[in-house]
Symmetry: C2
Subunit: 377 residues, 2 copies
């Protein structure tokens, strides 16, 4: 995979250079406003005394870790604040590959492409487990694919690109697979505030030492550019010293300290203020708006007879159009002839290479729906 | 080395718990105000539209890279914005070890301890070259220590902990050593705005493909907690494909993308605004104040007959007191009995293990000088 010009950029560039108006349904960057308290927090920070501009603890501001720990129902000592979920996933995968036996990373197909990128970068092999017909991961299929060589299993719920949310049973089953194969389940839960099914279940619920949860405020506070994320490590209490998870957190802290040093303090301060001063209305409002966009887009897909996976969470709809597989060529055709830019399924793996992914992070979903109706109808 | 509780923290904690008032001369975090334009930039950013809160380019905001490139007299394509100089040094050392033959990192003794920490983390061996009697690195000694196994040479000018500034000749000689041993010279120049000697010479002056410069705004804008730094890579133009430096920049971009993803955007925006709207008076004023602190502290050292290295740059004074070697025990004695907290020389290596390092990042240098006079006089 060529990380210098990822496939996202290729599509965005094509859409930008198109000779017509195009609705951008490519990126997963929120198009809506962060909470007012976030801006307020940044303004307050701008007036802080000199000392407030100096190094925060490498593990993150203590008050921010406390706030995160309370929300996730874990001990503050389990929380490491990272430079976004990206760094958290890197630390989790690097640490899992180091500590757990085996050199393989299991992924779900289709998958967020940077998981595979990170695994390759770390010298691991990847095995992709195709999703079931309903777009969900089948824990039995993951169990079948897992072996003694499996060190890390990475899942994402609510899921990019499938738009599904894994339920409590599935998460427990996935953790059990990790336990039975002496592996680490890394559960990336960055879309946890965008569950339309009411079924979201964090991997934290299991209390196993074989699961590590990553997250960030990129989506929930609409700030992908701020880079504030975190990892929740297994509770080390009572773990035998020889348990692979025993030194996981310490090693991740060292890696974080010697590579990133610490996350940016203005961003951490702003997020802390936002968490403390943003009511549930904000999160409900943005979730409801996303849910409305889901209805609008799937209405059009229904009208034109497309096959699609009903979104239960996250920002995305995967759809398949008869005779119009989701290749780069067809993505370009859709840009030129319909004025809608989506992502080709092949960017996410093989299982849904025929499909297209549409991101709902635009306030022009209505226009996109009309255009898809006109083009495919 | 134990990175979880570095020796800095140990001393700071001892000083904090002391039963008396202590002047903190331990950390290198500026105690003065960032420029007004930095705060202004952050306030402006706080009001920016939603899109301004989303991912900046992984390599950093284009305008910030342009601003950096213009200041350093390099091409914008050579500049990668990083999460502080810490990440820049990690990328430089990791890349240098990968691309250049050999597995050894040459350091100067005494040295900033995280260079050794990073080298160890990357699996490299380190060799320390003791400084000369005047506290400067002797390029001839570096040449003598270098071998076919040397992949990376790390220097820091103006220097922490010695407080000296390497001149143009020394830098050219160091680059020549790197060239002759097929190694990469990493020159960390974070204190470049704090040169009292007028002699500072960047490694960029040589134009060699064997030198990589790292830097940050942590010291020059008094914002160690913001994490905005950068690396200037060798100009790839005209390099043979087989040259070790040829792929250095591309690989560092990939590593940055897959580990840190990108630096925090509020911080990048604030720094950009500060660079554009801060006149030379600000930098002159803070440099002059530091220079005055140098005079005050060295006056006291002179009075009590201590041996010391005349500071030519950076924030630090290394000093040796007869019969009072710079051990942890003596550091603690100085805290308890003089009310001054410095760093033990042994924290920085062996060559100056008998010495103490005093940081001038406090507005109470006068009090410290009086106390040292009273204690040692």
């Amino acid at each position: 995979m060529d990380y210098e010009t990822p496939q996202f950029f290729r599509v965005i560039q094509y859409a930008t250079e198109a000779d017509r108006d195009v609705v951008d349904m490519v990126s997963g960057s929120p198009d809506w406003d962060p909470p007012a308290a976030l801006r307020e927090g940044l303004r307050e920070y701008a007036d802080a005394p000199p000392a407030a501009n100096q190094y925060p603890p490498s593990v993150g501001l203590a008050e921010l870790r406390t706030e995160i720990a309370q929300r996730r129902g874990v001990d503050r000592d389990q929380v490491l604040v990272t430079n976004g979920a990206g760094e958290a996933n890197h630390l989790a995968m690097a640490g899992g590959l180091e500590a757990f036996p085996g050199e393989e990373v299991l992924l779900v197909d289709p998958t967020y492409p940077y998981y595979a990128g990170r695994a390759n970068f770390l010298g691991a092999e990847t095995t992709a487990v195709p999703v079931a017909a309903d777009g969900h991961v089948d824990p039995a299929a993951v169990r079948e694919a897992a072996s003694a060589d499996t060190a890390v299993i990475v899942v994402n719920t609510p899921n990019n690109p499938m738009g599904v949310t894994y339920g409590e049973g599935a998460m427990a089953d996935l953790v059990a697979v990790a336990e039975d194969h002496d592996a680490l389940l890394v559960s990336d839960e960055v879309y946890d505030h965008f569950d339309y099914s009411g079924r979201f279940a964090s991997a934290l619920a299991t209390g196993s030492a074989h699961r590590l949860v990553t997250n960030s405020f990129s989506k929930s506070l609409a700030i992908t550019g701020w880079r504030v994320g975190y990892a929740v490590f297994p509770d080390g209490e009572g773990l035998a010293e020889a348990h692979p998870a025993a030194g996981l957190h310490d090693r991740a802290r060292t890696r974080h300290m010697l590579t990133t040093v610490t996350g940016s303090r203005p961003a951490q301060a702003g997020v802390l203020h936002a968490l403390r001063n943003t009511g549930p209305e904000y999160f409900e409002r943005v979730r409801r708006r996303m849910d409305e966009r889901v209805t609008v887009l799937t209405g059009a897909l229904e009208d034109v007879g497309a096959e699609y996976t009903e979104p239960e969470g996250a920002f995305y709809v995967m759809a398949r159009f008869d005779g119009f597989p989701g290749t780069f060529e067809h993505v370009e055709t859709l840009v030129d002839e319909a004025g809608v830019a989506g992502m080709p399924g092949e960017a996410f793996g093989e299982a849904r290479a025929d499909w297209l992914r549409f991101s709902l992070t635009t306030d022009r979903v209505d226009a996109a729906a009309d255009r898809l109706r006109a083009f495919f109808g």
